[in-house]
């Protein structure tokens, strides 16, 4: 579990991180979103014990990053937004080097390195020189390196930046697997849509301030107070539209072929009542569900028009 309380980092008069509060539960994936220069990397470096906070506290599994950095380092795997390469070092030697830097005995680190290289699909490359790997492979190797000492928390700074679509999908797959292994993961990106589908919760940071955090759905409702529902009917659409219009909490209905997008201002407990009304009329509903939400819209509303890649 990661707990950040009132975290502040100042460089002279410039405040890079301003009173950030955050809690990430064990075994969940948190997406840290914000434009470039918003304070993501600074926050991550403080979590990784690589930077001194000006004030506030960061605790990893109950241990303070400033008071007990060594204990935190044992529990945290850090992957920066760049990839450092040593010339003339082979993949398995690279893993072995970091394993020994964490004080792991020879046999243990050899075993862990073998398993992790398999996990990131680099088992066949273990005798290649690190600098000959493709960018995607280096990124995967870097991820394997950050896991060598079996940390509970993984902190990944822009892991998908500069990767081609295939490499991104591979990284996402690995992260899902890691989540299955009950790792807590913090992952940052300036691309919101990249994170939304794999994260349990997200936080949006702008100018050093955490503007909003929670589940994507939650954030959507908190911003607009509305939920978007997507419905699909076999036929009798006119009838369905008329019925929906009569409902007091329905605000807007958009028709697209056999589908309807309904803007709904009620809570979840009102939602099932709406479904019941439709079913009671024996309308042929094929699907009924909350839309993922328009992430671009969320971001623009939250960050007051700061430019951002989506």
């Amino acid at each position: 579990m990661l707990v950040i309380k009132d975290l502040v980092k100042r460089y002279g008069k410039f405040t890079a991180v301003d009173q950030v509060n955050l809690k990430i539960e064990s075994g969940s994936i948190f997406g840290f979103v914000g434009p470039n220069g918003a304070g993501k990397t600074t926050t991550i470096k403080i979590i990784a014990t690589l930077m001194q906070p000006t004030s506030g506290t960061v605790e990893v599994e109950g241990m303070d990053v400033v008071r007990e950095p060594l204990k935190v380092r044992e529990r945290i795997g850090y992957m920066p937004d760049f990839f450092g390469v040593y010339d003339n070092l082979k993949v398995h030697e690279y893993m072995d080097f970091y394993g020994s830097s964490y004080g792991m005995p020879y046999k243990e680190r050899q075993k862990a390195a073998g398993e992790l290289l398999e996990l990131v699909d680099l088992g066949h490359k273990k005798d290649s020189y690190v600098d000959t790997l493709s960018r995607g492979m280096k990124q995967r190797l870097c991820l394997a390196r950050s896991l060598i000492h079996n940390p509970e928390l993984l902190v990944l700074d822009e892991p998908a930046s500069g990767l081609d679509p295939r490499a991104r999908i591979e990284i996402k797959g690995i992260l899902k697997e890691l989540k299955g292994m009950n790792k807590t993961i913090l992952i940052s990106s300036h691309i919101l849509s990249e994170l939304a589908e794999m994260c349990d919760t997200i936080g949006i940071i702008e100018n050093g301030k955490m503007v909003i955090d929670g589940s994507v759905e939650d954030i959507m409702r908190r911003i607009s107070g509305r939920t978007i529902i997507r419905l699909k009917f076999m036929d009798r659409l006119e009838e369905a539209i008329n019925l929906l219009k009569e409902q007091p909490l329905v605000e807007e209905i958009i028709q697209e072929g056999n589908s309807l997008e309904v803007t709904y201002s009620g809570e979840d407990q009102d939602l099932w009542k709406l479904l019941r009304i439709l079913v009671n009329q024996e309308l042929p509903i094929l699907s009924f569900g909350k839309a993922d939400g328009n992430l671009e819209q969320i971001f623009m509303e939250v960050t007051k028009g700061e430019e951002m890649a989506l």
Binding site: L50, Y78, G84, Y98
Partner: protein, 324 residues
């Protein structure tokens, strides 16, 4: 390997350095230069010493002359090569963006600095050790003992360590390897020249004052700045080994090396290298080595402190300031 001896950074660096042809080529070129110069010197001296029917003298033998030339040449090469080896050690990690990765492992900053230093120095040590056969040539002609070579090589390693730690310190202070390398060379040469000039001036004024006061002896005075300059130790070792410690003395060798006038001071310890427990009873090169090692230790400690990302003491002080 014993756990406390095992330094991951050192092991990995050694592996990287010794891989490929570069190190082998560098050693070959280095030894080639040493051989070429000793060959030229041998030819020249042989003509001068024996070409005109001169008699053989141990203190002026070819062996001793080749030894002295090689000793000074190797010293100069070490001073020239060492900064380049260490000045990029930490800044290079920064440039490769691997320093952060190292710092967030369980390795201590001291471990990182020492691992880097030892692996960088290993190349210098390799050069020094591989030059032993060339130095053995001097033994063939006599005038030098194996013990002399051991003392000289020990002093080389200490000098390399001291110069290496200046390079290391610069690589911690400056972000770019180019800047760090330039500043290391500048620092080393300015330090070398300044200590020589200041020391010589102090020696001269001492000589001037003491000769005006009757009854004051001329020996046992070494300006402190000379201890910061490894040329002092080298001059002491060579003077001692050439047997001129008594009459020419360190100041004599020094003044010859720096091209200054001869001040006539003599080495107070013409006997053994360590004659007792007090500072003045140690021979000059040992005092020089002790001061250089202490300075190197200080620089390395500061280097390790500088790369430490999170410092508890700092934060407490900082928080106290904020709360005021």
């Amino acid at each position: 390997m014993k756990k406390w001896l095992y330094n991951p950074v050192m092991v990995s660096e050694l592996k990287i350095k010794m891989r490929g042809w570069r190190t082998a080529a560098a050693v070959t070129v280095y030894l080639g230069i040493m051989l070429l110069i000793s060959y030229l010197f041998f030819n020249l001296t042989f003509d001068n010493t024996y070409g005109y029917g001169n008699t053989f003298d141990v203190n002026n033998s070819i062996g001793l002359q080749i030894y002295t030339t090689l000793a000074i040449l190797q010293f100069a090469l070490i001073v020239l090569i060492t900064p380049a080896q260490t000045a990029g050690s930490i800044s290079g990690e920064r440039e490769k963006q691997t320093l952060d990765l190292l710092l967030c492992t369980k390795m201590s900053p001291t471990g990182i600095v020492m691992g880097k230093l030892i692996s960088s120095m290993s190349f210098i040590f390799l050069l020094i050790i591989s030059s032993i056969p060339i130095f053995s040539l001097a033994l063939l002609f006599g005038g030098v003992t194996p013990g002399d070579i051991v003392v000289l090589f020990a002093f080389y390693m200490i000098t390399a360590f001291a110069i290496g730690s200046i390079g290391m310190f610069c690589s911690v202070l400056f972000k770019k390897t180019v800047t760090s390398t330039v500043i290391s060379y500048l620092t080393i040469f300015v330090l070398g020249i300044l200590t020589a000039i200041i020391g010589a001036t102090m020696l001269q004024s001492y000589y001037y004052n003491s000769s005006s006061v009757s009854g004051m002896t001329l020996d046992s005075y070494t300006p402190f700045v000379f201890y910061l300059n490894p040329v002092t130790g080298l001059a002491d070792i060579l003077a001692r080994q050439s047997g001129s410690g008594g009459n020419l003395g360190v100041a004599g060798v020094l003044s010859m090396m720096f091209g200054m006038g001869y001040y006539g001071t003599s080495n107070p310890n013409t006997g053994g290298m360590i004659n007792g427990w007090s500072w003045s009873q140690w021979s000059l090169w040992i005092r020089n080595a002790v001061i250089m090692l202490s300075a190197a230790g200080t620089l390395l400690t500061i280097s390790a402190w500088k790369i430490k990302p999170v410092r508890r003491g700092f934060r407490k002080k900082h928080l106290a300031n904020i709360s005021k």
